[in-house]
Symmetry: C2
Subunit: 211 residues, 2 copies
DNA sequence: GTCTATAGTTGGATAGAC
DNA sequence: GTCTATCCAACTATAGAC
């Protein structure tokens, strides 16, 4: 099938890039990296394959740009919230729930399924594809939040805090990837949303850290 | 490149199927479903593509068989352990840590990275591929364990228990998929293994359920 | 900056010999 | 039951017109 794309020559470059990133975000989220083709992305964006390669150079680079656009503002919000907590605490201890909230809220709160799921792909797609991206986008987060959590748990074993942080990441990934909706359970169960979901996750994680 | 497979005509069928399942298990675990090709699987197994299609019919069916071989015995062990706990408890309440152990141990304890990671793919690969498999293999597990957990938490809100079970699944997936190893954190941190890992996960989850 | 057209590769699946 | 050879579709990426 010849796709017959409207040949809008004068289309704005920034607009085309955004359209591609929007489509890539949705499709990578739904189907993963290997399961998504450049054709599917460009068709969803209403542009040609060549336009995508002109703007991003390769499928790998498109993934990196897509992940970056999703993750960077989330991490910025995390750092800002944590910095505010540290400033307010002065020399005293940090509040555990507040630190967990600073970590979880920016990720869970984002509107749009795709926006959250594509970030979760960072932890579920094949290693060779995402290992560099994970290091780039998540290394600083770990290095900032693990010590902060230790400071919120006076007298705790640093190695235990590091492990519990890894388990916290497991909770976060599961929640933001929308798995709460899809696990089969036939009993009565309503998936919480928004503020409820954030509070439930903070509650669960905080108890784990204090155990 | 012509693969030049040794043409062992008299090779045993069961052996070939096992070799294919072994290879598929490892590759699906490492690369996911879309990221794994039939050629890669058959080459790793030392058989031809046709042999795989003869035995399984399609790539989809190979995935279903691979997942089934991994997950069924794990779930059997879960059910046996839970049944034993219920029998021992009689009419009294169940012990939360023991129920969580019955759920987590069979999955975490399995030897072999691939064996565990391929099960985790059930929760991370694209929905259209695994949704039916997830329902088939995980529906009964949820329906058995959610009530058991509620019984271990007298007076609890059933809907809260169902949510906390979903979070437990998030912990399990993260642990068995080996993500504890790969998240970047530059501080001191040793990944626990075996019994330590099971106990740490049970501890963390139990606290969440009790919170 | 965006398109059409196509190169070059690799994918899943099958036909048919043995 | 297993192979070789092959079909055809779909893939990423690029060349070149506009």
């Amino acid at each position: 099938m010849a796709t017959a794309i409207t040949p809008l020559r004068g289309r704005d470059a920034a607009d085309t890039k955004d359209r591609l990133l929007d489509a890539a975000e949705r499709l990578f989220a739904e189907r993963g990296f290997s399961g998504t083709t450049m054709r599917a992305v460009t068709q969803a964006a209403g542009v040609s394959v060549s336009a995508a390669n002109y703007h991003f150079g390769s499928k790998d680079a498109l993934l990196a740009a897509t992940i970056g656009r999703v993750v960077v503002p989330v991490n910025q919000a995390r750092f800002e919230r944590l910095a505010a907590l540290e400033q307010a605490a002065g020399d005293g201890p940090l509040d555990l729930e507040e630190v967990l909230d600073a970590f979880l809220r920016p990720a869970i709160e984002k509107r749009g399924e795709a926006f959250r799921q594509v970030a979760a792909r960072l932890f579920s797609d094949p290693p060779e594809v995402v290992v560099a991206l994970k290091k780039e986008h998540f290394g600083d987060v770990s290095d900032r939040f693990v010590p902060a959590l230790a400071r919120a748990l006076p007298g705790s074993d640093p190695s235990r805090v590091a492990l519990d942080f890894q388990l916290l990441v497991g909770l976060m990934v599961h929640v933001i990837s929308g798995q709460l909706d899809t696990n089969p359970y036939s009993g009565p169960y309503r998936v919480p949303e928004g503020e409820d979901l954030i509070r439930s996750t903070v509650r669960y994680a905080a108890a784990g850290f204090r155990s």
